[in-house]
Amino acid sequence: MTPSACDKPAFSTMEVCGSLTVSLREFGCEQSLLSRPDGSASFVQGDTSVMAGVYGPAEVKVSKEIYDRATLEVLVQPKVGLPSVRERSQEQCVRETCEASLLLTLHPRSSLTLILQVLHDDGSLLSCSLNAACMALMDAGLPMSCLFCGVTCAISTDGQIITDPTAAQEKESRALMTFAIDSAKRSVLMSSTKGSFSVHELQQCIAVSQKASEKIFQFYRDSVKRRYSKSL
């Protein structure tokens, strides 16, 4: 989708083309694949693949306990090497999103641990981690007020907006944005941006991400339906 003119002043009402088709790479997921965690899921977007495991509500150290809410801890393990500062910032983004959608007040003085293992990184890693985290939290049966999904947009040097970019497209882009969208009102729960872009472009990317999130939420619904369709 190309913006009509980059030097137009930003308007308060957003105009998005009616016939907007958002292209996402093929995605797939699997739930309950690990036997030890209370909930686990693996999410694949194109070639990017992330596995998530959730433990909780479990015992918490007295130094870390919060008297009225559960303590959520997120750990991101990269494919190679030890976690570094980049993984810490990804953990922060995922943790803020999860805290916004989980009902933490139902389990005070307990701990919820979410571990994300990067299996392969081919672009859109943060949004793939968010999707895997949401499916794992659902699999563990933790009470949530709404679902969330992650969508990554890249703005290329000629102004085109690409959703779900590959690693090569990310490298050539001038701006990269990841949004966490919630399922209730399609509002933005978390945003992580890199690069330079205008306010108009930011608003367009948010609109495009909200459109893309509908496909992902429909996919969540279909996979959970398939899971419960077996009559036991």
């Binding site: 909780g56 509500p57 015992e59 389990h107 049966g141 009470p143 949530m144 919630d182 959970v224 036991l232």
Partner: protein, 244 residues
């Protein structure tokens, strides 16, 4: 709202799905007001004037007006009145600390056994298995267990388990085993005679005539979690024919 909830019984719902009160077009001033009551079970929460789903699963209904979400879970969250299998981990003063697989350990007073007095203490050691039920179990307080019912009788609860095998299964399988007309239980009865203690926290203790039979039953129950009824009956029949 009762009708909107009822028509979605049997559907798979996700967290965030909601049911709201439908505004009536004509409110009659003369007819008596029909008060609808909807009882929400696990997985459903009331948020202002809406009913919101907070776990993913199948919506179930029991007459006259009870609704709940049937979800598959592995981690147990204590609820009052449920009977569980716990392991005694510590003896501190007048209470035992019992681990039942939840976020904290429950306390079990030594007087909460049948026929226990201050002079006549129950014979409970560290590492023993106890079958107890929750007296206090909410999110704000430490959970408390008792091994007697409200009239002071043991009713099957207390220390058990000389020999036998304790293993973990999912909560859904335990609920299916404890249901009134349980297919799994009736299939199991036709296999070998065995002693079975089922805790709602996903723990099952089984003891049979020989160690081999005990292991067979444990393996069958663990693998019956994800099988359909037909596959399970096939497997049980195979085991019966090749039984030792």
């Amino acid at each position: 709202m009762f009708s909107t909830v009822k028509e979605r019984v049997g559907e798979v719902l996700l967290p965030g799905d909601e049911f709201s009160f439908e505004a009536e077009e004509n409110i009659s001033l003369t007819a008596p007001v029909k008060s609808e009551k909807v009882v929400c079970g696990p997985g459903l929460r009331r948020c202002g004037g809406r009913l919101v789903v907070c776990k993913s699963g199948v919506l179930r209904h029991k007459e006259p007006n009870v609704f709940w979400i049937d979800s598959q879970q592995r981690r147990y969250v204590p609820a009052k009145g449920e009977s569980i299998i716990g392991i005694v981990t510590a003896k501190s003063g007048d209470i035992f600390k019992v681990d039942f697989g939840g976020s904290e350990q429950a306390s079990l007073s030594y007087l909460a056994f049948e026929g226990a007095t201050k002079r006549n203490r129950p014979n409970v050691q560290m590492g023993d298995l106890v079958f107890a039920q929750f007296l206090i179990a909410n999110k704000d307080m430490e959970p408390e267990l008792v091994c007697i019912d409200s009239s002071g009788r043991a009713n099957g609860m207390g220390v058990f388990g000389t020999g036998g095998l304790l293993f973990r299964v999912s909560l859904g399988l335990v609920r299916r085993l404890l249901a009134p007309q349980s297919n799994i239980r009736s299939d199991l009865e036709q296999l070998f005679p065995c002693e079975l203690v089922v805790g709602m926290n996903g723990r099952i203790w089984v003891k049979s005539a020989s160690v081999q039979q005990t292991l067979i039953i444990a393996n069958l129950l663990q693998s019956a979690e994800t099988m359909t009824a037909q596959q399970r009956q096939q497997l049980f029949r195979k085991v019966q024919q090749g039984a030792f």
